[in-house]
């Protein structure tokens, strides 16, 4: 019977020699066993639409499998889950965000250090402003320049997810030798007994508009008209058609002939494997500003990072895996973690529902702060640079003026 995970288990694991925490969970499609799922596709152009398939060996049999969610994609989901919990339940989380909501844009938005592709060292955050200065040149941002595996104190307080999911500060002054933090958490979802299916596409237009009913012309106001006299004119005074040739389908009208292409798989089950490497966390050191080593603080910080990682994994498991259109998976097992220590010995197992994960995480962060580690309590909100704001404004204005589906002329 697995016990419940608690803070002591994590602390002892980090203080000892254990290799990893690992959680393997089975899922079924939301539509029930045997329902079709759509994995991610890779590649571009002619070579696009390719699934990542592989063969595995299970109990002496060959099993065909397909990747349903990659390591990078799972990491993104876990960061988003943490961000959402922070917004809803006030879970402790340092957040640095670039705010596009206060400038009267048609579509306001905000991008945080948990959403930017390169986390806190992303170009967007680098060039946005704190108190009138680009972030990396501000007091907070400058501290990031000295970040290293052996000097992770600042990063712990500003962006702990960078220590869990990895970071490479490739565009700081040091270029390719910029700070590199190895990821500690790896997670992936694979579908088993994958059998390829087909996908149909078609559309029946209730108004039964025929091709010969066109051509359609663009109007000045962004709509369309059948009357050539009312059409927008180009620089040669010719009427401008909708799309390339004014076909009704360019305005989303009319039937689409049914077609069948290959698509999707049926699977017997999906398996999500998440591994938290303890040696990766043990490498991190959290000295004082003057370089003094602090073993107590080291353990407290690593414990908090491990707790954050385990909590993030529990969160995405509890949400179910809504991976993409027509790929919703629901877990069919409790989330049991193995603590992998001496090889050959059976591992200890622990259950960790998300609610317990939250409590442990909050406790661990409190203890880390008590041990003297920094922790950003209030989100740092950055102002986008004036140039970027102008460009975003211009782009959004262009988009609202054009007929639907027209690409921005670049």
């Amino acid at each position: 019977m697995p016990g419940l995970m608690n803070l002591e288990v994590i602390k002892e694991a980090l203080a000892g020699t254990a290799g990893a925490f690992r959680c393997i969970t089975e899922y079924q499609p939301a539509g029930g066993p045997g329902d079709k799922v759509f994995p991610p596709t890779y590649g571009e152009g002619d070579k696009g639409g390719v699934y990542a398939e592989e063969d595995r060996h299970v109990l002496g049999q060959n099993v065909h499998c397909v990747l349903l969610d990659s390591v990078q994609s799972q990491a993104n989901r876990m960061e988003l889950a943490l961000l959402e919990e922070w917004e809803k339940h006030d879970v402790p989380l340092p957040v640095v965000a670039v705010d596009f909501t206060s400038y009267g844009l048609p579509k306001p938005f905000r991008i945080s250090s948990l959403e930017a592709p390169h986390r806190i060292v992303d170009a967007l955050i680098r060039d946005s402003e704190l108190d009138g200065v680009p972030f990396r040149k501000s007091d907070f941002g400058k501290k990031l320049d000295a970040v290293d595996v052996r000097n992770a104190t600042t990063l712990f307080g500003l962006c702990p997810t960078a220590l869990v999911f990895g970071m490479w500060d490739s565009t700081s002054g040091r270029g390719a030798l910029g700070a590199r933090i190895q990821r500690a958490l790896v997670s992936e979802i694979v579908g088993f007994d994958a059998s390829a299916g087909v996908r149909t596409s078609s559309r029946i237009d209730p108004t039964q508009i025929l091709l010969s009913a066109g051509p359609l012309y663009q109007t000045e106001h962004g709509g369309w008209t059948l009357a050539e006299s009312e059409a927008k004119r180009d620089k040669n005074k010719n009427p401008v058609k909708v799309g390339k040739s004014g076909k009704p389908s360019e305005a989303n009208l009319g039937n689409v002939k049914p077609s069948i292409t290959s698509g999707g798989f049926t699977i017997s089950k999906a398996v999500q494997t998440s591994v938290l490497s303890l040696p990766a966390l043990r490498r991190l050191r959290f000295p004082l500003l003057d370089g003094t080593a602090r073993p107590q603080a080291d353990l407290a910080a690593r414990t908090a990072l491990a707790a954050q990682a385990l909590y993030a994994v529990a969160l995405v498991r509890e949400q179910g895996a809504d991976l993409r259109s027509r790929c919703l998976l629901l877990p069919t097992q409790p989330f049991a973690w193995e603590l992998l220590d001496r090889p050959g010995e059976p591992p200890q197992t622990f259950d960790l529902p998300a609610a317990i994960g939250r409590t442990i995480y909050q406790q661990a962060v409190a203890e880390a702060k008590q041990a003297g580690l920094p922790w950003l309590e209030e989100a740092i909100v950055l102002k986008p640079s004036a140039n970027l704001l102008a460009l975003v404004r211009k782009s959004q204005e262009l988009q609202t003026k054009l007929p639907e589906g027209e690409p921005v002329d670049a």
Binding site: T17, G19, A20, R22, Y42, G43, E44, K47, V50, Y51, A52, E54, D55, R56, H57, S70, V71, Q72, I111, E115, A116, P117, H118, V121, A123, L124, D127, V149, R150, G166, S170, T171, A176, L177, Q182, A184, V186, E188, T273, V275, S277, P279, A280, R282, R283, L340, R342, P343, S385, N387, L388, A390, L391, V392, K394, S395, L398, V408, D409, A410
Partner: protein
């Protein structure tokens, strides 16, 4: 004895094959594992004792290994967002052009440009690997190596998480360094490796100058349990990498050109076992290198086309000698990829052969397809008789000649021999469609026939009989019990 175990925690290994960047590396090369240990030492500012332990390890030479086979995940192209984007300069007060809008928006995550990357992944049948060295380390070295192992995070890409430890009871290795031609070519760490890694890192360079060693399955320690021929049953399988399809009828054409290419690449003076000739230029009486056409036969859609050629080496040749003579032709280049052996026959054909390295190649390219123990064997190329049968009872005489040919290659005499125009294997042409051998003396054609042999006890291959056996004729394939055979033979005969 000292052993290190590596467990891939996610069940797969993400590391790029240095010879082909689109493929994963499997099994992990000992040098890669050594570099992971070195990284664990450097990145944790390890103690001097750990450095001494790594120095000891790099002097132990190439380890034996235990690793299962692996399959590969489809190599897909992933697009990873870049970070080296910046905003365009816009003059104050001026309206940004569409180009500037496009460039500027690239800073936003949804418009960020992406770089194509590949992350090759190998999925091993067993996600554990062992490295075994014969030497026994001093206690302090062993403890320090255990400590370094416990700090290893990954072998390969950063997502390729592992657990490493010192193993007291490793399994018997299934991959060992060989002085001969090995199916695998792995990088190993040698003396001075740690220093080189430190120096390269300090100067901002990648590691270089790996040492390469050939590896292969170990030879069974006891002698063969079953009788076999005087050829080593571990054939060197060369697969057709390029060139048009050829059928079994082209056997002589192919093997002659290949033999000349192998001789040409062999270091001088070319020994008798490679050339098949004595120093005086006379045909050798001793067993020498044989070439076997590897044809697609025996299944429902078989058409007898050639997938490659195998080299059968006499058992009596020591592995180091095999390596010395054959590596230049069919071994590995200095970058770790297999050599491409190009064969030309005027404008009749142009082929490229390379060592077959896949762990699960097509049936015809698996050594054991031609060598596994069996009681019954059937021809894929006809047996050529070195003397012409005369007079009455032709069939009995031919059978007798074939029977007596077996001891010539070290096999017992078969209990029964069946002859025929065709082979029981689907896809094999009838005997008349094979170009014949002519006698040097008077130019007369030698008699050739298909045959089935039935031995009293199972024997191991390769089974090559008759004149022309070194050039690919007289090649037999073992009949698996219960295997489908067709045409020409009455299976109710007691065989």
């Amino acid at each position: 004895m000292f052993a290190i175990g590596i467990r891939y925690l996610c069940g797969w290994a993400m590391a790029t094959d240095p010879a082909d960047r689109r493929r994963p590396e499997w099994p992990p090369h000992p040098d890669r594992i050594y570099m992971a240990l070195a990284a664990a030492y450097f990145e944790t500012e390890g103690e001097d004792a750990e450095r001494d332990a790594l120095d000891w390890l790099e002097r132990q030479g190439a380890p034996a290994m235990w690793a299962s086979d692996a399959t590969e995940r489809d190599a897909v192209t992933v697009y990873v967002p870049v970070n080296d984007v910046s905003l365009p300069m816009i003059r104050r007060g001026s309206v940004p052009s569409p180009q500037q809008v496009f460039q500027g928006l690239q800073v936003l995550p949804e418009h960020r440009p992406r770089q194509a990357r590949q992350f090759p992944v190998a999925v091993p049948l067993e996600p554990v690997v062992f490295l075994v060295w014969p030497a026994e380390p001093p206690a302090s070295v062993k403890n320090s190596l255990a400590s370094v192992c416990s700090k290893v995070v990954r072998v390969g890409h950063s997502a390729s998480l592992v657990q490493a430890w010192v193993e007291e009871n490793p399994p018997v290795p299934n991959l060992v360094p060989t002085p001969g031609v090995g199916r695998y070519r792995l990088r190993i760490a040698g003396p001075g490796r740690l220093e080189h890694l430190a120096a390269q890192y300090a100067n901002g360079f990648r590691p270089e100058r790996s040492l390469w060693r050939a590896y292969d399955r170990p030879q069974p320690s006891e002698g063969l349990a079953l009788p076999g021929s005087l050829f080593d049953d571990r054939l060197l399988m060369l697969r057709r990498a390029d060139g048009r399809l050829l059928g079994l009828e082209s056997t002589f054409l192919l093997t002659d050109v290949l033999r000349r290419a192998v001789i040409q690449q062999c270091p001088e003076p070319v020994p008798e076992w490679v050339s098949g000739h004595t120093p005086d230029g006379l045909p050798s009486q001793r067993p020498h290198l044989a070439f076997l056409p590897l044809a697609d036969v025996g299944h429902e859609h078989a058409d007898g086309h050639l997938l490659g050629v195998a080299l059968a080496v006499p058992r009596s040749v020591p592995p180091a000698e095999v390596g010395r003579c054959l590596n230049p032709a069919v071994g590995f280049t200095e970058h770790g990829g297999p050599r491409q052996l190009r064969l030309y026959a005027g404008d009749r054909f142009e082929w490229t052969l390379e060592l077959e390295r896949r762990s699960l190649p097509p049936v015809a390219l698996q050594s054991q397809t031609w060598t596994r123990a069996a009681r019954r064997w059937a021809t894929v190329t006809p047996v050529v008789l070195d003397r012409h049968p005369k007079g009455n009872e032709l069939e009995r005489q031919v059978a007798s000649i074939v029977t007596e040919a077996c001891p010539w290659i070290g096999l017992p005499r078969p209990a029964d021999v069946l002859l025929g125009q065709v082979s029981p294997y689907r896809g094999v042409p009838p005997r008349r469609e094979f170009p014949g051998l002519t006698r040097k003396a008077d130019g007369g054609r030698l008699y050739q026939t298909h045959a089935i042999l039935a031995f009293a006890e199972p024997v191991c291959g390769p089974v090559l009989l008759g004149a022309g056996r070194y050039r690919g004729y007289g090649l037999f394939r073992p009949i698996r019990e219960g295997e489908e055979t067709e045409g020409g033979y009455n299976d109710s005969r007691a065989l």
